[in-house]
Amino acid sequence: MAGITAFGAYIPMHRLERKHAGGSGERAVAGHDEDSVTMAAAAALDCLGGPDAPRRPDLLYFASTTAPYQEKQAAATVAGALDLPDSVRSADYAGSLRAGAAAMLAALDAVTAGTARTALVTVADRRLGAPGGRNEAHFGDGAAAFLFGCAEVLAEVRASHSVTADFVGSWRSAGDLFVSNWEERFSTGEGYAPLIKAAVQGALARAGLTPLDCTRLVLYAPHPRYHANLARELGFSPEQLQDTLYGQVGSPGAAHAPLMLAAALESAAPGERILFAAYGEGADAIVFEVTDPIRRFRPQTGVSEHLARRRVISYPQYLRWRNLVPAEPHRRPALPRPSQPAAWRNRRKNLGLCGVRCMCCGTPQFPPQRVCVHCQARDQFTDYRFAGRTGRITTFTADHLAASVAPPTLIAAVDFDGGGRMIMDLTDCEVGSLSIGGEVEMTFRCLFEAGGLKVYFWKARPRV
């Protein structure tokens, strides 16, 4: 029976306290170099078990309401970061908070039909609320990823049910930067509650189960207060209710319910039944039954470890990172529009962090060379991926002159375990915490945007 064969999550380490908006708790904030694509890639790596893991999907769906481009597929970038073969089938799911669930159901259909052996869904969101508003405080940034298949399934799908309704509770038009909402009583009373109810009850009926047969309810909620109410109305007890992560992460849009599901699976035992419900212009509900192989699976990092890695940022920092306040221009040359012929030639290097290893002397090197850096042999190389490898800082600096929304730009010479060195940007750290010899790992980030084009590449970040 088809189901989830692996799962992963990503929560950026930065937190914005809701104090500034008169609220409580905190929300996760994607770094200045993170977007839905980089977070999706991070969750996918968490799920697949790192770049060298044997789990390789032959179908990849990316889901988000905040894909970086209106026209240009995001899944292809994620596929590049995962160094998937060209033969992978890919698509983006967008436009709805239900995009993640829609992609999950589509992936299930594909593996059930046998058109894909394994299908990876990665869902991420980095939504913007207008500065100072409720949405800004409530939203959060994050991602989840699930691998679907029919072998070594650790959470089987027992049933699912979907409803569709052209209900407008929140929306963002093509030219809008910020999400808008209709008045809350209407949105929850007429939309959220009845539509979720229909999907949940439909799924339970199809599975021949009652709420009491389920161990957990993974329920999307625009706010925790509706969460508990709706669960009660559905016949679930508070103990069955999976934490919304609202106090630590906020609501990461299309990734909200999927992230909660990843958290639920992390602590789930064989035999548990998890009812998953996502919402947006209707609702999708899926009943999962956890099976024995879950004992043998751990995501690389997982929700709980992601939550533990945490750094509070200031509200002005947040505004600057999201380019929501005008700022003094840098006295540096404008960044040139990235050459797409060069990006195309170098796609495996840039997205997959693929270098080479000399077949004559064995030296790993990056970027790929024609003449070996060590023995000068010509064109005697095999591929060698640096993504997923760790390294140590040989020397470092904090560049206050470089153009950045988060100065200073931290740069280090990184010596990789297993050989090879790169001069590379550091992220998710401050200069005071760096030292020669410090251990770093690779993380996929957006370096900059120029001429409407984004440049994705890898940075190093200190290992916890």
Binding site: P338, S339, N350, T363, A402, R421, I423, L447, V455
Partner: protein, 395 residues
């Protein structure tokens, strides 16, 4: 390696503009000023030189950049570029041309107009690229040297910072004596230590300035030099080393030595017959783009033993009145760094010192001078070393 350039070429005239913020002068103005001055110093008109080499990183393309403003009448004029070693590269080409007998009188001009961009630091144009990779500014790239050096030789960061400041302090002190320098003021050590951070641990006072400037040099074969002037300066060595860039890709390189500088110095010393540079050289003009660069160069050029340069700096070995004065004219620190001009500006100080014309900066008995340029990043650069002497014959 070919026959040595040793004593085959002599400098018979030089000109150098004041370096600084020449908001009222174009690159054309600066080239006219320096080139006419150099030719006048050699007792010729610009039209009497046989060939020209222009060194500039970005102030113009092709020899036309120089031929136009000087109204050179269909002369062979070539623009050369080798990053921050550009000026020296133009000089090198002119020397080889006269040494080969292809021309009798050759002129090298180095110019850069930096201050028209309104930007901080350098602006170098490259082929369109994919942008995927770090883009450290120059101070950031050179600041890599500091923590690596401190760590390797056990300097705590506070002491290390003072060593670096001592270098800037010395160069400003020398520059205060130089009417052509951009900055003509001594700077207290504490002000240098406390200057705002540009690329940790480097503060703004650890960085060379940004200036406009131009310098020009006239060369002939040595045997003809005395026809031009009674006190020519003789070329002893010309060396350039361009690195393969492996230091940024291989763990062996430890950021406490610039291999290109070591190699260029070795080649230059071999040409000049120098085996004890600290004793045999009277002075050195080195590429103090950032203070840690000068610190490390003291070891790479063989002036200090490995791991000892910091102590020599603190002991004043490289001060104007020290054992081996380094950057007696004030260096890039006081002059700023108009890329194409710097190498020839360094030769200008050697030319003054060896001929006893350096005024309050004069080093007693100066006989042999070294100039050094470094272009690129510490782990991937081109280094040029020239050695010139007061008299022909062995150093």
């Amino acid at each position: 390696m070919g026959q040595s350039i040793f004593d085959r070429v002599a400098v018979v005239g030089m000109g150098c503009t004041r370096f600084g913020e020449h908001f009222d002068q174009s690159a054309d103005d600066l080239m006219v000023e320096a080139t006419f001055a150099a030719c006048a110093d050699a007792g010729i008109t610009p039209g009497q030189a046989d060939a020209y080499w222009l060194g500039t990183l970005g102030s113009g393309h092709s020899g036309l950049t120089l031929a136009g403003p000087l109204k050179l009448q269909y002369k062979p004029v070539t623009r050369v570029e080798n990053y921050c070693a550009t000026g020296t590269e133009a000089f090198r080409a002119a020397c080889y041309a006269v040494a080969a007998g292809a021309y009798d009188v050759a002129v090298a001009v180095g110019v850069e107009k930096m201050k028209d961009s309104g930007l901080s630091g350098l602006d170098v144009s490259f082929l369109p690229a994919d942008g995927a990779g770090p883009d450290p500014t120059t101070p950031a790239a050179f600041s890599f040297l500091a923590p690596a050096y401190f760590m390797k030789y056990g300097l705590d960061p506070e002491l290390g910072k003072r060593v670096l400041a001592r270098i800037a302090w010395k160069n400003h002190r020398n520059g205060a004596l130089n009417p052509l320098a951009q900055y003509r003021k001594e700077v207290p050590l504490d002000a240098i230590v406390q200057s705002p951070i540009v690329a940790a641990p480097l503060g703004i006072m650890d960085c060379s300035g940004v200036a406009d400037g131009c310098a020009a040099i006239v060369v002939v074969r040595s045997e003809e030099a005395y026809r031009f002037r009674a006190d020519p300066v003789f070329v002893k060595s010309l060396a350039v080393a361009a690195g393969p860039g492996t230091g940024g890709m291989q763990p062996g390189f430890d950021f406490t030595s610039i291999t290109e500088a070591v190699v260029a110095a070795r080649v230059a010393y071999a040409q000049a017959g120098i085996n004890d540079p600290r004793r045999q050289l009277s002075m050195a003009e080195v590429h103090d783009c950032f203070t840690p660069t000068e610190l490390i160069l003291m070891e790479d050029l063989g002036f200090s033993e490995r791991g000892r340069a910091w102590q020599d700096v603190l002991d004043g070995v490289f001060d104007l009145d020290g054992e081996l004065p380094v950057n007696p004219d004030g260096g890039l620190k006081s002059f700023g760094h108009p890329i194409g001009a710097s190498g020839i500006r360094m030769l200008y100080e050697a030319y003054l010192q060896l001929r006893g014309q350096a005024g309050p900066r004069q080093i007693d008995g100066a006989r042999v001078a070294l100039t050094h340029n470094l272009g690129g990043l510490p782990w991937h650069c081109v280094c040029a070393v020239c050695i010139v002497g007061k008299e022909p014959g062995p150093v």
